[in-house]
């Protein structure tokens, strides 16, 4: 069997082994140490084998739906991602628009920049009580928290990107006498795209951090409330499985924005 395709096989192994093996070894080591540390009778935190045994139904069945908030982790994550998608999209549209306005107008920039610098340091969850007071609705408030978390890096990066448009490109546009509309589409937007995407990537990470925390407080279906609910029901093994999901989805989101930016942005180098 193996003799029929020996070359490509060996080749791919040689290529991927140095990439796959080191993290695999670390994973096994961590699990072994964890297992040993948490193996006494009645440990405070469950050992890996205990987690697999007790949360097996969650691991093997991510899409069960028993009504209410009793849903598989896949469905919980999808619900959280839906909120992130709405808040993040709104933040991107508003952030890029205001960022361009602020970046192109020095006077407006001077007026609002100090406030942006203060507002962006406010932790996401600190916005939640105000959102709840304003919207009187948990769902809208959770989305607002994502929006207000994601908007600052997008807005600030966009406005910096707009200000960084190289003088050479502006000179070209002055010689060609491009009108505002042409200047916007052919020079301003493409030239600031790398900055905009950097902001959007930071914002994607922050959004995911914020939704998990916000859902713990607002309740309903979602990975954040799932974790909080599991804690209240002393299902520690479920929490750890959920954390693995949270980490994986966060990584996927980051990669997604990264590859989207690579696809769209044309850098000079």
């Amino acid at each position: 069997m193996t003799t029929t395709i020996p070359l490509p096989r060996r080749y791919s192994w040689q290529k991927f082994l140095p990439i796959v093996l080191p993290p695999l070894i670390v994973l096994v080591l961590v699990l072994v140490v964890w297992q040993i540390l948490c193996s006494g009778s009645n440990p405070r935190l469950p050992a890996p084998i205990t987690i697999i045994r007790e949360s097996w139904h969650l691991i093997v069945n991510p899409f069960f739906d028993k009504g209410g908030t009793n849903k598989g982790l896949g469905l919980q994550v999808i619900e959280s991602l839906r909120r992130v998608a709405i808040g993040y999209t709104l933040a991107s549209v508003v952030g890029v628009s205001i960022g361009i306005l602020v970046g192109t107008n020095q006077l407006i920039n001077r007026g609002v920049d100090p406030f942006f610098q203060v507002l962006r340091t406010v932790p996401p969850l600190a916005w939640l009580p105000i959102a709840l007071a304003g919207f009187r609705q948990a769902e809208t408030s959770a989305i607002f928290v994502i929006f207000i978390t994601a908007i600052w890096p997008i807005l600030i990066n966009t406005s910096v990107g707009v200000q960084q448009v190289p003088q050479d490109y502006r000179n070209v546009s002055r010689i060609l006498r491009l009108n505002r509309w042409e200047y916007f589409w052919t020079i301003l937007l493409p030239a600031s795209a790398p900055y905009i995407f950097t902001g959007m990537r930071i914002a994607a990470g922050l959004s995911w951090l914020a939704i998990v925390a916000a859902e713990m407080l607002t309740g309903g279906v979602g990975i954040g409330f799932f974790i909080w609910d599991a804690w209240n029901s002393s299902r520690i093994t479920d929490i750890i499985v959920a954390l693995v999901y949270v980490g994986m989805v966060g990584l996927l989101l980051d990669r997604l924005v990264f590859y989207a930016s690579k696809l769209i942005v044309q850098s000079e180098e």
Partner: protein, 281 residues
């Protein structure tokens, strides 16, 4: 196929000064009073002339070019093109920059197309087809038809500068402004492009104002060389007329004893009479 749309030579019987700089000074206000870059520059360029400006760094060559391009305005005096005072940049004075200044997100074709479109502002399908045709003809003129749909990052330095030259020519400028166009290229590519530029100029007779550091380049290409004194308060020190007939041939030119006489005149101006004071630089 139609012939190349090259600008027709001007047929005016009277050779009015085409480009004129009259008593041009440029100073920038600083905390210690005005800093004078250029002082009392007078220069007339005829239509179809190839004029080079040579001088040390900081002699205001680029300021001079920026004044003609319209990026800056003179503090005193005036700059005019065909009796029209220059106050702002425009497509009739296209600049070819040392760093090419192509938009990296557009292909070679699209970069040229943007320029041509901005000049002709096509309204209907016929005019749009005409614009596309002009772009294709100019890509062919610089030998880049095959690279039309490549982005600048996929092109070599020489190819990028070819695109920039094609973009400039395709816009049919009244005067072509070259800001050390070959300064960033390796010596072999530089010679190739000099030959191409000379060939294009000999066919189109477009008026050219070129800044350069390279004495050989200036002699090989120009009708006249404007030598600048050192800044601050730089002005035109001397104007050298290059008598060689066109079409020129590099090999034959560099064997001509007159070439060396001119070369020595340039070099003695730059390195003896206006040598840079090292301590000051």
């Amino acid at each position: 196929m139609q012939s190349l749309p090259l600008p027709a030579p001007l047929q005016s019987p009277v050779e009015l000064p085409f480009l004129e700089l009259r008593d041009v000074s440029k100073f920038y206000p600083t905390s210690k009073g005005n800093y004078t870059v250029l002082q009392g520059v007078n220069l007339s360029v005829q239509s179809g002339e190839f004029v080079s400006i040579i001088g040390h760094s900081g002699c205001g060559k680029t300021t001079l070019l920026n004044l003609v391009a319209g990026f800056t305005r003179p503090s005193q005096g005036f700059v005019s093109l065909e009796n029209q005072r220059i106050t702002a940049p425009g497509p009739d004075r296209m600049v070819v920059f040392q760093n090419y200044s192509l938009l990296p997100w557009l292909t070679a074709y699209e970069n040229i197309h943007l320029g041509v479109k901005s000049v002709y502002r096509p309204q209907n399908a016929t005019e749009k087809r005409r614009v596309r045709q002009i772009v294709e003809e100019h890509l062919e003129l610089v030998g880049l038809t095959d690279a039309a749909h490549k982005k600048p990052k996929q092109l070599s330095g020489g190819m990028k500068q070819r695109v920039a030259i094609a973009r400039a020519l395709a816009m049919r400028p009244q005067i072509l402004l070259l800001d050390e166009p070959f300064g960033a290229l390796d010596p072999i590519t530089r010679e190739e492009l000099q030959d191409e530029l000379l060939g294009i100029w000999e066919r189109t007779k477009v008026t050219v104002l070129m800044i350069t550091h390279d004495v050989d380049e200036a002699i090989y290409l120009s009708d006249r060389i404007v030598m600048m004194t050192n800044g601050p308060s730089a002005t035109i020190g001397e104007i050298l007329t290059i008598p060689f007939a066109h079409p020129r041939n590099r090999a034959r030119l560099t064997e001509d004893p007159q070439f060396f006489t001119l070369r020595n005149q340039c070099l003695s101006f730059l390195y003896e009479r206006f040598a840079l004071d090292i301590d000051h630089d």
